[in-house]
Symmetry: C2
Subunit: 292 residues, 2 copies
């Protein structure tokens, strides 16, 4: 069934995701902070709205994938925001990686207004978005989930409802927690290889085939060795995610020393102005012997 989908956030990932929805036969309506990032989609038939409020009022489903929790809070809960203006029966889906607590708060307020609010952050980066191969981690009401599952299937490959509101965000933070220490391990294995005079690519090949093998080693390892730190996933976004995870862990009284150590290293990179490189530029810190 074709739906009227309001889409907010046509950045590098959002653009691909919205385009898959259009290809799936849905009518896509767009609001974005800067209109130029939406032009390509508009040229292909998407409709432009001047405000989130007007977009919300005209949509059956509203998808957001924007920057930071503060942006999510403003666009959902602000006076000209989504929940004030969306129709009763509408379903919202926040695909930003954001705070689980905020996701719960949005869901509660949405429910009071007859709006089902899902949190559905993704993993897979720009390439996953382009290839409609994202992992989508969903929290919220099960019947709303069923209702929009066909939309998720247009954008992702691995899709799961993990629990009530906030569960999608929590799961995404688990993902980032695993990656934070893993990428540190990959950096340390490779810097050791280099320093010991081994050929790091040959080491990658052989250890990647065994118990050390994984996506980070396979994808980021060769980039680190080549010195290619272009952002597939941007460092400042990863640092944001780590910060969210640490805040939640603190709230739950949970100590995560590996994550804390990774954060310490990433903070140095941020202070040095590397926020817009790829998050695997952590390897540069090891190369420069600036780790502590």
């Amino acid at each position: 069934m074709a739906m009227k989908i309001g889409f907010i956030g046509t950045g590098i990932m959002g653009k691909s995701m919205a385009s898959h929805l259009m290809a799936g036969g849905h009518s896509v309506q767009i609001y974005n902070r800067s209109r130029d990032k939406a032009e390509e989609l508009l040229a292909r038939g998407a409709t432009w709205f001047e405000t989130p409020a007007s977009l919300a009022a005209a949509s059956d489903v509203i998808i957001t994938i924007i920057g930071y929790p503060k942006d999510v809070e403003a666009i959902y809960l602000g006076p000209d925001g989504i929940l004030q203006n969306a129709k009763k029966g509408c379903i919202t889906i926040d695909m930003t990686t954001s705070s689980p607590e905020l996701a719960k708060q949005i869901a509660v307020i949405g429910q009071e207004r007859g709006i089902a609010c899902l949190d559905a952050p993704v993993s897979g980066g720009d390439i996953g978005a382009r290839d409609a191969a994202l992992s989508i981690m969903v929290g919220g009401d099960a019947s709303a989930y069923e209702c929009v599952l066909p939309l998720f299937r247009l954008m992702g490959k691995t899709i799961a409802l993990l629990g009530p509101a906030g569960a999608g965000q929590h799961t995404k933070l688990c993902n980032q927690i695993v990656i934070a220490s893993t990428i540190m391990g990959v950096c340390e294995g490779l810097i050791y290889a280099k320093t010991a005079g081994l050929d790091p690519l040959a080491v990658l090949d052989v250890i990647g085939a065994g118990a050390a093998g994984g996506v980070q080693l396979k994808v980021q390892g060769p980039r680190m060795i080549k010195g290619d730190f272009a952002p597939g996933f941007m460092l400042e976004h990863f640092v944001k995610d780590i910060g969210l995870a640490i805040a939640e862990a603190d709230r739950m009284g949970l100590k995560l020393p590996g994550l804390a150590q990774a954060k310490k290293l990433y903070d140095i990179l941020m202070q040095q102005g590397h926020e817009r490189t790829g998050y695997h530029a952590l390897f540069e810190l090891y190369l420069r012997k600036e780790v502590t």
Copy 2:
């Protein structure tokens, strides 16, 4: 060409490896500290030797896979050891995870006596050994490597010569360095999932399909969740390997803070008497909130 292979160290892995060599048509001769661990192989046609010296004198190739670097040092360099007693033209292969410096020292002394000494530690654990699916990381002389490659192929799947003597050990330490932080990341992701009230198995499924995916998450994750800490790979051996890696890194002036953090946690487990559980029992420390 069938060879006379001296095999020292018929522990859980060594037993499988020696048995693959016998199945490959080679004549296997055994010395082991405790004879009872060799009985199964002896019953199937292997020959017993009372001392490493007599075994060495009667072998074309000598394979060792034993406990600690001090054991390797004693059995190779001791007065009744391999290098004093092996024939000229013999090739030795130490498959123990041991010190790269010791491997270099053994190779130098071996060369003086016309014995080529390879270091060839493995990854893949008891199951890899059983299934002849080990990764074998080799350092040493290239022609000696070519000569014994057919033997490696009977025991392993991924086999590589990484450089001169010591390069196999260095590569294995890279492997352990990557795993040390990765396993910490897996523990932290799962303890977060559990504490946040998520179903950890459902989280594993969805994040394992994306950028957090890897062998540690896939293999050790479900065991951690089940509380199954039986040793596929023993904690005290992993701690030995981490210790070797830290010693080498120190020697090279290399800081590896992720590895140091993992070591700190593993030291607590060792002090608590968990040395004979699986190394993934690190998760228990998180469960008991005893991480620092």
